[in-house]
């Protein structure tokens, strides 16, 4: 018997099983994470059906069904089986105070999905679920009753959304441009004052320009006010399921849906429209609603700046260590130090970035080049450039290590062959060794991108904000505004999920943001992998 056990152990069958189990468990965990994010994230865009319940006490509840659970036995000792309750998203936060409500199953007298109820997505206070009583313009009733009101409301909402677009264009582009110019002239005047040229004709000239701009600004503000008044022209009286009324300007409604009245095709269409609006719109309501476009943009741009910074540094350092430095104790110590740098907690890099890049470098840049803006810092505060540099510092060991591996994999014969043809060492490196090492360099870039995209802690110290007023890339010269603060998907998750006033309502947004962050990482990685494969193909044989 012991002999047979020993034989079995030595045969390695058990070991194979262990290995297989390890792989299976890892795969299970990864797919579990992805599945969880996808189920919770992708479900967010679906127009959920509305349920209207009549309770045994005669009141009504209207909302989206969000789940069912058994009340723990300890809370209901009289029922050893436990009883169930359902959770509904009832919206109407301004009326109820809360978005969600628990209903005990045994209290429900009847439940129904009436086709005439609508979900209104509003610019404030979250969703409203209910029916329409009347649509009015000032004192005149335009349409009364649910059906007529619904028909009348559709074009009005579209009109209001167009108005909103116009207002936003006016605010962001037209008035934004004027503000940009006013700020520019203000700084120029200040600069001249600092130089002691307060009396120069240019100052007077600039002051007239400022005045002209101010006049323009006032004119646009007046237009803006008129447009805003137009938004309030039409009002709608909504009524919730128990009959309480809510007066609302049509301009407050983003969209109105009757999910119970929609066909499958219509719902699918709506699904993709919702998806697109999250990708392309700006956040509203303390980031819990609206889109996440600025965060996606900030994340991608930061990673790109980081890549541009990290690759040259890492590659040059690796070339020195591998090709030029004498392979001795010092180089070995440096190599160990570089490897250990990769293991330093990221918040440490954040602190360094704040102290070095933001305060030391940024502060110096401000006193040297932007004295007219002081005491408002330009580069002396967190910004996308410093955040990217901090991440570049964080990921440079990865690039160094993989570039060194790539270099050491280049056969000695290539170097000798090149030298024997009369090439200098530099020429050999540039024309033979670097192309051969490119796949290794790109592997380093892939790893660096993967690590940098997911990093949040150092960014919180070096330039990420909850809500950035402007993108770091726009049509104002010099187009790339490295000093601007930016939004980031990882920080967005933290902010929406844990810092928002209405955590429960924000939960779907957290999953959506997570899903999109994962997608961004995958897309960035796949493009780097595609680039590497392209390079490999270019430098490898086609026939062999």
């Amino acid at each position: 018997m012991p002999d047979r056990v020993k034989k079995f152990l030595n045969s390695g069958t058990l070991f194979v099983w262990f290995c297989g189990t390890a792989v299976a468990v890892s795969l299970l965990m990864v797919s579990g994470v992805l599945l969880l994010i996808m189920i919770n994230g992708l479900g967010f865009f679906w127009p959920h059906a509305l349920v209207e319940m009549t309770l045994k006490d005669g009141t009504h509840v209207l909302g989206e069904l969000k789940g069912e659970e058994v009340i723990p036995y300890s809370q209901t000792p009289e029922l050893p089986e436990g009883k169930t309750r359902v959770r509904l998203k009832v919206g109407n936060r301004d009326l109820y105070g809360l978005d969600f409500r628990w209903v005990d199953t045994d209290q429900i007298a009847s439940a129904d999905s009436p086709k005439d109820v609508a979900a209104f997505e509003r610019r404030e206070w979250g969703n409203f679920y209910g029916r329409i009583r009347e649509v009015s313009r000032g004192e005149d009733v335009v349409a009364s009753g649910n059906e007529e009101g619904w028909k009348a409301l559709q074009p009005l909402i579209e009109q209001a959304n167009d108005l909103h677009d116009e207002i936003e264009h006016l605010q962001r582009d037209v008035i934004g441009d004027i503000n940009f110019e006013i700020e520019g002239t203000r700084l120029r005047i200040r600069e001249l004052e600092l130089r002691g040229e307060r009396e120069s004709p240019e100052v007077a000239e600039l002051q007239t320009v400022t005045q002209q701009l101010e006049t323009q600004y006032q004119a646009h503000v007046a237009t803006l006010r008129a447009l805003s008044r137009q938004l309030d022209e039409y009002a709608v009286v909504l009524v919730e399921t128990n009959g309480r009324e809510k007066n609302l300007a049509v301009g407050q409604i983003v969209k109105a849906l009757r999910p119970n009245d929609m066909g499958l095709f219509e719902k699918i269409l709506r699904y993709f429209m919702n998806f697109w609006s999250v990708l392309s719109e700006e956040p509203r309501e303390a980031n819990t609603e609206g889109g996440i476009f600025p965060a996606i943009f900030g994340t991608v741009m930061m990673v790109l700046i980081m890549s541009v910074a990290v690759v040259p540094f890492g590659v040059l350092a690796a070339f020195y260590l591998r090709e030029y430095a004498r392979q001795g104790v010092i180089v070995r110590v440096i190599r160990i130090a570089v490897n250990n740098l990769a293991g330093v907690p990221s918040i440490v890099f954040g602190v360094f970035g704040l102290g070095f890049f933001v305060y030391a470098v940024g502060g110096t840049l401000d006193t040297l080049f932007y004295p007219e803006a002081l005491p408002t810092p330009t580069f002396g505060t967190g910004g996308i450039l410093w955040a990217s540099f901090t991440l570049a510092l964080l990921t440079v060991p990865v690039v160094i290590v993989s570039t060194e591996e790539g270099l050491s994999a280049v056969p000695r014969e290539y170097r000798e062959g090149s030298l024997a043809l009369g090439a200098t060492k530099f020429e050999s490196m540039l024309r033979v060794i670097l192309p051969c090492a490119l796949p290794g360099i790109l592997t380093g870039l892939i790893l660096a991108v993967a690590r940098a995209t997911g990093e949040v802690a150092p960014l919180m110290l070096t330039g990420v904000v909850k809500l950035a007023p402007a993108l770091p890339l726009d049509h104002h010269f010099p187009f790339l505004h490295f000093e601007r603060k930016f939004m980031h998907l990882g920080f967005h998750i933290f902010d929406v999920g844990f810092q928002s006033p209405n955590v429960e309502a924000a939960k779907p947004m957290v999953y959506v943001t997570t899903l999109i962050l994962v997608m961004v990482v995958i897309v960035l990685n796949l493009s780097a992998v595609a680039l590497r494969n392209h390079m490999r193909k270019k430098f490898k044989a086609s026939a062999v």
């Binding site: 014969e413 290539y414 000798e416 024997a420 090439a423 192309p435 430098f539 044989a541 026939a543």
Partner: protein, 260 residues
């Protein structure tokens, strides 16, 4: 040391005088002296580790790359010391080309491989480069086989074709001497035969020094043969003499296959 051969003294291309070579503390060559004549094929034979490749790599100073490598003595090309501080190493290497044991075309196209050397020297005109490619590939006997796929990867060629491409690559810079370090050891007999055939025509244009393990090869292709053992040049003479009537008994033992 029998060195009273007539062919050695005609037109010396490379002269080695009393040369020692060290890898750090380890001495690899002991008091080697020989003369490589112009437009001849000179073969170095001997067991592994006998120093023949080391001497070959001294001729184009490729040993400079090895840390701790030191040459004591004098090696001259056309009478000029190649270890003189005033010598430009890259210039020397364009005059003394090399073909390696391990076939090493660059992972580029056939065309790019051949023009690599000329481009380093600053040749940029497309028409000139095209001419060099055709001439070099013809010189290496490869033109007919690859003229339709010059822009395909060089790694798609067979082993023998790759080695001839390396020869063409070396010829493209117009060297005066071609060093060959066991160029056929990784090749099949047919490819080997092609390269040996090539050597006969090559020696019209340049001087060839070849290191080989294969004694039949040395006997077939070379005009002069040097036999190395433990870092010493045991005997250097006309190939016919070495293989039929060697003066040293160790040479005889080696060429008759009694050891090594």
């Amino acid at each position: 040391m029998a060195s009273t051969q007539r062919s050695q003294d005609i037109n010396p291309k490379i002269t080695v005088e009393n040369t020692d070579f060290f890898y750090g503390e380890k001495q690899a060559l002991f008091k080697v002296a020989l003369t490589v004549p112009t437009h001849q094929v000179t073969a170095f034979i001997g067991p592994s580790g006998c120093g023949k490749s080391t001497l070959l790599r001294c001729f184009n100073r490729l040993n400079d790359l090895v840390e701790g490598a030191r040459v004591i003595g004098r090696i001259s090309l056309d009478g000029k010391d190649i270890y003189d501080p005033s010598v430009d190493v890259t210039d020397l290497r364009t005059r003394v080309g090399m073909v390696f044991q391990k076939v090493n075309p660059f992972p580029k196209s056939i065309y790019q491989n051949v023009v690599y050397g000329p481009q380093l020297q600053g040749v940029r005109r497309r028409s000139v480069l095209d001419g060099i490619v055709e001439k070099s590939l013809q010189g290496a006997g490869l033109w007919e086989e690859v003229k339709d796929r010059l822009h395909h990867s060089a790694l798609g060629l067979s082993g023998g074709q790759q080695q001839r491409l390396c020869i063409a690559r070396a010829l493209a810079v117009n060297p005066e001497v071609l060093l060959m370090d066991e160029p056929c050891s990784a090749l099949d007999p047919i490819s080997t035969a092609k390269i040996e055939e090539l050597l006969h025509s090559l020696k019209e244009q340049l001087t060839v020094v070849i290191v080989t393990h294969n004694m039949q090869q040395a006997a077939r292709i070379s005009d002069l043969t040097g036999f190395f053992l433990m870092g010493e040049l045991i005997e250097y003479a006309d190939t016919k003499t070495i293989f039929s009537n060697p003066s040293d008994s160790r040479t005889e033992d080696y060429v008759t296959g009694r050891f090594g």
